[in-house]
């Protein structure tokens, strides 16, 4: 009797993550230093950094695409400081966000922020010119009031991979 073993071809995730900005992921030795200082671990998200890094190394894509922990990263940079292998866990975490985004799993807040940058040049934008005047402040000299500068921002966003995601206003 013959057995046919079906081998699923897995993507080389280390390469994918490296191209998205997380070059250090292959160097992770699972020591856990990053977890010991990470605020995301502290409040108990399911898959803190090093666990996700193991999945990357093993080529398991499913948990990477569905886990919300990368979006909880506060960008404090403690992990970069303590990592003994120079993995730069922070940048791997952000590469994981970019991987999820390419699977169309975008956090609504990020979507909103990028849309706002496209519209006004700012992630947070409110018209408070009256209040600013009260404090004797000049008008904000940003892209929000200059069409030319705003078009430069839009050009950058449109010429990047973000334009493929369908989140930029037409």
């Amino acid at each position: 009797m013959k057995y046919v073993v079906k081998v699923e071809r897995k993507r080389n995730l280390v390469e994918v993550i490296s191209n998205l900005g997380g070059e250090g992921v292959s160097k992770c030795i699972q020591c856990g230093s990053c977890m010991s200082v990470c605020p995301v671990t502290l409040v108990g998200f399911d898959y803190p950094n090093k666990k996700l890094f193991k999945f990357v190394q093993m080529g398991e894509e499913d948990p990477l695409l569905s886990d919300p922990s990368p979006w909880a990263c506060v960008a404090c940079g403690r992990c970069i400081e303590v990592c003994s292998q120079d993995v730069n866990p922070f940048s791997v975490y952000f590469a994981l966000r970019r991987l999820q985004v390419r699977g169309f799993r975008i956090h609504p807040l990020a979507k909103e922020a990028v849309g706002s940058i496209y519209e006004s040049g700012h992630a947070i934008f409110v018209d408070n010119s009256e209040e600013r005047e009260k404090f004797g402040l000049p008008e904000v000299s940003s892209a929000a009031k200059s069409k030319k500068d705003l078009n430069e921002i839009r050009e950058i966003l449109r010429s990047s991979d973000i334009s493929d995601l369908g989140i930029l206003p037409r």
């Binding site: 900005g21 605020p39 409040v43 108990g44 998200f45 919300p68 979006w71 909880a72 990263c73 506060v74 960008a75 404090c76 940079g77 403690r78 970069i80 400081e81 922070f90 952000f94 966000r97 970019r98 985004v101 975008i106 956090h107 807040l109 990020a110 922020a113 990028v114 706002s116 940058i117 040049g121 700012h122 992630a123 947070i124 934008f125 409110v126 408070n128 209040e131 600013r132 404090f135 402040l137 000049p138 904000v140 000299s141 940003s142 892209a143 200059s146 030319k148 500068d149 705003l150 078009n151 430069e152 921002i153 050009e155 950058i156 966003l157 010429s159 990047s160 991979d161 973000i162 995601l165």
Partner: protein, 292 residues
């Protein structure tokens, strides 16, 4: 001394009183702040950097190129902008990345060289202005005031991307020294380097988890040093600590509320700048009560 003043989004639009205090304090110290014409969002971590590396670096490089054209270093009051721009400078030391970015910027006649450095407002006081000069300008020193200092994460880590560093970021000294110059006490408490829970995102993903940070921090402060006021150099932390205290009090988790100020607001008051020019009305009464 001249700096390009990178406003960011949060400070000019949500906390204009902080911007006013920075501008006033700087002019007292004789530091000139140049506005960066046509700057945009840095862009903050939760926006473009989460989606695409190249677009992030291009937008940051574009902002830095504006300062380079003026021939000045950048100073910002927002820890988030400070962190994003410094990370971008660090990554753009790589020649291939710089080439990619400049290819995009060249479409509209801009060029990134990497000559401008990015500092935080706090660094101007701690490393650029003469300490004796700063001391001389303080007309009304604080007396018998216990301050809980909250440096915030993004100002401290990772030291490799910054030009002004703490000797040991896990035991930060700069903010402590600057508060002590004003005449106040700034004792150590065990959760001093704790995250405020706002960061870029925890606050939006999970309220319970975010409030845990603030609660732990507040309890540690209250138990160990019982502060009159909290001082922070980070606008995100300022908003988070203010809003969360209100919410926690409403939920019955705490029975006190400690006023929070940005460092330059406190400095401005000590310099004799009228309080109504650097504080919002709703918080002014409470803060002045504590200080005087």
């Amino acid at each position: 001394m001249r700096f390009g003043f990178f406003l960011g989004c949060q400070i000019p639009f949500l906390k204009p009183e902080v911007e006013a205090s920075i501008r006033k304090v700087m002019s007292v110290l004789g530091v000139e702040l140049l506005d960066l014409e046509g700057y945009s969002c840095c862009p903050t971590w939760m926006s473009v950097p989460s989606l695409d590396l190249n677009a992030w670096l291009a937008i940051s490089a574009r902002n830095l190129a504006i300062a380079e054209n003026l021939g000045v270093d950048v100073v910002t009051g927002c820890s988030n902008c400070f962190s994003v721009l410094n990370h971008a400078i660090y990554l753009l030391k790589d020649e291939r990345r710089r080439f990619d970015v400049n290819r995009i910027l060249s479409k509209f006649g801009k060029f990134y060289r990497g000559t401008s450095k990015v500092y935080h407002v706090l660094h101007v006081f701690s490393d650029f202005v003469d300490m004796r000069e700063l001391k001389r300008k303080i007309k009304y020193p604080l007396k018998d005031l216990t301050v809980a200092i909250h440096p915030g994460c993004q100002l401290l880590w990772p030291t490799r991307v910054m030009d002004v560093r703490e000797e040991n970021p896990f035991y930060p000294e700069k903010l402590k020294n600057l508060v002590e110059i004003l005449g106040a006490k700034a004792p150590y408490y065990s959760r001093l380097d704790y995250c405020c829970g706002a960061g870029t995102s925890v606050a939006y993903i999970d309220y319970e988890k975010s409030s845990y940070f603030v609660l732990t921090k507040l309890e540690s402060m209250k138990e160990e040093i019982d502060p009159d006021i909290i001082v922070t150099p980070c606008s995100t932390c300022l908003i988070q600590l203010e809003e969360m205290q209100k919410r926690l009090k409403k939920d019955g988790k705490i029975n006190f509320e400690i006023p929070v100020v940005y460092y330059t607001q406190l400095l401005a008051i000590c310099m004799g700048i009228p309080a109504n020019e650097v504080l919002k009305e709703e918080s002014m009464k409470k803060i002045l009560e504590v200080i005087r």
